[in-house]
């Protein structure tokens, strides 16, 4: 089964390498949203440093959401999803492999770029490690939860809107605790509780969503 998952990971990474625009699109979106925010509100450091945590987390969520619709859709359209489902392995392993690639491509770059973004928004430097850690735990949760929605709308025309509606409520707790942890760190408060909750959500999502999305794909 590990080999099966590695096959999918290798194939999907190869596909990304052939079409680098797919990686860049959510990333460019992420940077643009954040770059435009100070223009919209005010470039004042005091105000920005207060809102930075929320802005970064919302932008990360939207960037994830943007790339989710295609998670299974392309495979469905060209028939390769059928072949993946016919392989003699449980469908959750397929979901897990696909979500892992999705996170590598859409989540990991955001985390790596977040210190730069934090500086742009005057986030206090003591909060940057918390920001990175919360994104490290939070973005895989976003990808995992999104997989359920993506699996459900696979094969539905114009499923993007439906996907957003389905997934957004599930994203709310992740955003609340993710943004709160960064805000707390910026004020020099303890973040252990927030991190524990984020980690709990990640573990829960890791256990439930591959199975749920796998079942949804078979519908």
């Amino acid at each position: 089964m590990i080999k099966f998952m590695l096959t999918i990971v290798r194939r999907d990474l190869l596909l990304v390498a052939r079409q680098p625009a797919e990686i860049l699109n959510p990333l460019v979106f992420f940077v643009l949203v954040i770059a435009l925010f100070p223009l919209g509100i005010s470039p004042e450091a005091a105000l920005l440093s207060q809102t930075a945590a929320g802005i970064i987390w919302v932008a990360a969520m939207l960037a994830t959401l943007l790339s989710l619709e295609l998670l299974f859709k392309l495979d469905h359209d060209d028939g390769s999803l059928e072949q993946l489902l016919l392989a003699p392995y449980p469908s959750w392993s397929l979901v897990l492999a696909k979500v892992f690639v999705h996170w590598l491509v859409s989540g990991l770059p955001l985390i790596l770029m977040s210190p730069l973004i934090a500086t742009m928004l005057f986030l206090p430097s003591q909060a940057v490690p918390t920001l990175m850690l919360s994104l490290l735990v939070g973005t895989p949760t976003l990808s995992l939860l999104g997989a359920i929605g993506a699996a459900l709308v696979t094969g539905v025309r114009g499923g993007g809107m439906l996907l957003t509606l389905l997934i957004l409520p599930l994203y709310v707790p992740v955003i609340i605790f993710g943004a709160s942890s960064v805000a707390a760190a910026a004020q020099g408060m303890a973040v252990g509780g927030y991190m524990a909750l984020l980690a709990a959500m990640f573990v829960f999502a890791l256990m439930i969503t591959p199975w749920a999305a796998g079942s949804a794909l078979k519908l």
Binding site: F4, T7, R11, D77, D78, G79, E82, L86, P88
Partner: protein
């Protein structure tokens, strides 16, 4: 039909299989069993449910009424549908790599040999997007040579294949059944092979007057 101890094993059976789509019954009461060495040609008009039947047999379409049985759990099935399951951005060789990787491993030598057998020598490193419709189908069919499967479920495998290709392909089908495999396929072409069993879905359609008692006929 005489049953001797050396009766070839059943690879797949259906019992009372039916299919309903959009409140319309496409076929019902489908009873047949596929033994090793048999080639079944599923016939029917457009919309008769040929593709759906193959998908039901492959396990890709829900079975609400009746059953699809695969007696031996180790039976390996390859399904090639209308959608070929190829990634346009990848080369023919890369596509075969991941398709074969779903159920085992393959060496580059084996993949090149399989591509050569379907007449795609020299196209191994071309992306599938650059190939013609017929060549794409040949890439998908190359998998039949690469992965050893007992049962082939082929949906219109002759589509966009040229005349000579169809002749070659029938040769592969023959070879596969001779070596103990079985094939279930749909096609609007006549298959010029000696041992073709025909499953005519129109006999199982509810409106058809010859529906009743057609089980025996299909099993001949």
């Amino acid at each position: 039909m005489s049953f001797t101890p050396s009766t070839p094993p059943h690879l797949l059976c259906t019992s009372d299989l039916a299919c309903e789509r959009d409140l319309r019954i496409l076929y019902s009461g489908l009873n047949f069993s596929v033994k090793a060495g048999e080639l079944w040609h599923i016939k029917g008009l457009n919309g008769a449910g040929k593709t759906t039947l193959l998908r039901q047999l492959a396990g890709l379409h829900a079975v609400d009424t009746g059953k699809v049985l695969v007696p031996n759990k180790a039976t390996r099935v390859i399904y090639i549908g209308h959608k070929l399951g190829l990634k346009e951005q990848l080369t023919a060789d890369e596509n075969l790599t991941w398709l074969a990787g779903l159920d085992g491993v393959s060496t580059q030598e084996q993949r090149y040999a399989a591509l050569e057998q379907v007449g795609l020598r020299g196209y191994e490193e071309n992306t599938v997007a650059q190939l013609s419709a017929g060549q794409k189908r040949r890439v998908a069919l190359a998998r039949l040579h690469l992965c050893k499967a007992d049962l082939w479920l082929l949906d219109e495998p002759f589509t966009s294949i040229d005349q000579q290709g169809i002749v070659d392909e029938q040769g592969w089908l023959n070879q596969h059944t001779d070596s103990g495999g079985a094939v279930l396929m749909t096609s609007h072409q006549t298959i010029n092979l000696s041992q073709v069993k025909i499953l005519d879905l129109s006999k199982y359609a509810p409106i058809s007057p010859i529906n009743r008692g057609s089980e025996a006929r299909a099993l001949t």
